[in-house]
Subunit: 364 residues, 2 copies
């Protein structure tokens, strides 16, 4: 009963103009998601109506669950984040967030200007009570975790984070993994410049003390972790300031891209023909290895802490990334991530209850 009530609410607003490649990957991704996820009961496509109708006709996208919501403006990458919310009131991202604010949609997904999406969500939806700042929860491929993922929070929403922000983000990340992945006590690490307890900067040292004290209330704090631990340590969530997380995320992306480029260069040296043969024979292997690292397969990054589900997708998202971002949005609704975050934050503030409150996955 509870489940069917909930599925009826699985309404998602897609910023159909967002991303480096405009509406095309958004519409193709919407098509994939509507086919794959019958649970989605409504999909708002927000953007220029004429453009969207033309794009839908081109790929023969027809679904009674689709509703086009016209928005006359688009936030450009050159726009300043906060100013874009104030000045471009009829932008596709602002209108999409408005649908969540009004309750017409439960979740918003955008591959557009990340700063603008964060600002629109933060100013329009406001934070869950007890949460000071939202944080972007970004998935990393982890080679030792059963679910293959370690999440980094915050990947860039909130720079100059205060200790309480990092503590809230640790709790929010833990709640997400607990309910979406069904992990009983998610293992949470604090990103630092070394694994030893003594390592850290002024902010993380304070956070370390706090999170350590939450251990006796059932919180799975595992101490300091390092950048490399995202990929290879038994950790579900790594917590850091948004500035640090953003630099780290882009550094990891850059490393992967550099390695790809170096391998390609070596594989295509025509004066070493056995390499080209070998490259052909191993193409599938490299592709499969690459798939584990491809953000497209992970989908978007939830912006945790705002009143409403907000999923940030990569600017260069293709259809598969958009499809997966819509899936992540649907999962947040299905597993009631936000109500559980509110509960856990409230339990944390009550200073005696277990944190996060209820560590078993949602019944849904």
């Amino acid at each position: 009963m509870h489940g069917s009530f909930h599925f009826a609410l699985m309404k998602i607003a897609l910023d159909a103009m967002g991303g480096d490649r405009g509406s095309a990957p958004n519409l193709a991704g919407a098509q994939l998601a509507l086919t794959a996820y019958p649970k989605i009961s409504k999909l708002f496509l927000v953007g220029d109506e004429a453009t969207l109708k033309r794009g839908m006709a081109e790929i023969r996208l027809q679904d009674r669950r689709i509703e086009i919501v016209h928005a006359s403006e688009v936030v450009e990458m050159s726009d300043e984040a906060i100013a874009s919310v104030r000045r471009k009131k009829d932008s596709s991202i602002s209108r999409a967030v408005d649908l969540v604010k009004s309750g017409d949609a439960g979740a918003v997904v955008s591959a557009g200007h990340t700063g603008a999406a964060v600002a629109a969500a933060f100013f329009k939806l406001r934070c869950i009570p007890g949460v000071g700042r939202p944080g972007i929860l970004s998935p990393f491929p982890n080679l030792v975790n059963p679910n293959g993922i370690c999440y980094l929070i915050d990947a860039g929403a909130n720079v100059d984070a205060k200790p309480e922000h990092l503590i809230q983000q640790a709790i929010m990340g833990s709640v997400y993994v607990s309910y979406v992945h069904g992990t009983k006590t998610p293992r949470v690490g604090l990103m630092s410049n070394g694994e030893e307890d003594s390592k850290g900067n002024a902010v993380t040292k304070e956070v370390f003390e706090f999170l350590s004290s939450l251990r006796e209330r059932g919180f799975g704090f595992k101490g300091n972790v390092e950048g490399r631990d995202l990929f290879a340590a038994p950790i579900d969530v790594a917590v850091c300031d948004g500035f640090v997380g953003n630099v780290l995320l882009k550094g990891c992306e850059g490393t992967a891209k550099a390695i790809k480029g170096l391998i390609k260069t070596e594989f295509t040296k025509w004066w070493l023909p056995w390499r080209i043969i070998g490259a052909l024979l191993t193409k599938g292997a490299l592709k499969e290895a690459g798939q584990r690292l491809n953000y497209e397969n992970y989908g978007g990054s939830p912006l945790l802490g705002v009143n409403g589900v907000c999923i940030i997708a990569h600017g260069s998202s293709g259809p598969i990334a958009i499809k997966n971002a819509l899936r992540v949005g649907a999962e947040c609704l299905e597993h009631e991530v936000n109500p559980h975050i509110a509960e856990a934050i409230s339990a944390y503030l009550s200073s005696t209850a277990p944190v996060p409150a209820g560590s078993s996955p949602s019944a849904l």
Copy 2:
């Protein structure tokens, strides 16, 4: 004349006990360096005399330039950095730094506990006048730069850096590239959470203003850069806080290691035998691609800003990494990096002279 005076001073102290694998890679690396670099006039091997003599006999390391300096203690990875300097006065790293302090050596190289090496250098050698904190200058493989390198400063010496520290580190990094690589006006980027001028945290925004103002005095400030730019942007130096730099460095290392592991897994699936054949045919290619990323080929990271040359090598350094770390130490002496840093910092403080002072490489 000046040159020969200088070469006579090319005396280096090696912390021969430092690193995860003890004295063996240090001694083997010393052997390689003494053969490769006749300019090294003296090499102090600092550590337990009996251990070193036994190790030297094993690999038949004999060279009249070697002098063993006995040190009875070793700083362990579990030791606290600053405490180690106070409590283990007869450690190999402390004794090696003492040789620089006394003027017997011009440079010290250590693959031991990084924090201990930084603390020993900072407390014993003190900073160059005008420099508040030293910074670790760490080389990254860069695919677009002619020299193949972009340096990150600070990779972990100084967490909670103040704006003035980052400005000093920008200048020191620029001087290093200018004199060691002969780059006329090194291009300096400020690590941030986005390339736009408006991006940054409270500290970097202040640094951005300062470095922008140095442009008119000849400083090659190129604005904000992102984590990925280390590998693929036309930038010689990227400046950041030591906490951020350390997290970033280890994240990039972890990414490379994860990719290596994933490729290996895919290549050794016995039920897909063509992959194994392909893997054999492309082995050289992957190895060559890997070499571009292998820190062993770059050698150590100079700790810039202290009165004396101090080179930090990776804890897992093998002989080639130690050899290259000794080369980096020799290069700092040969190109008079520290006197040039003192000059540039003094010019910067004088508030009108060009910064860094003299952008052409040293005559040596």
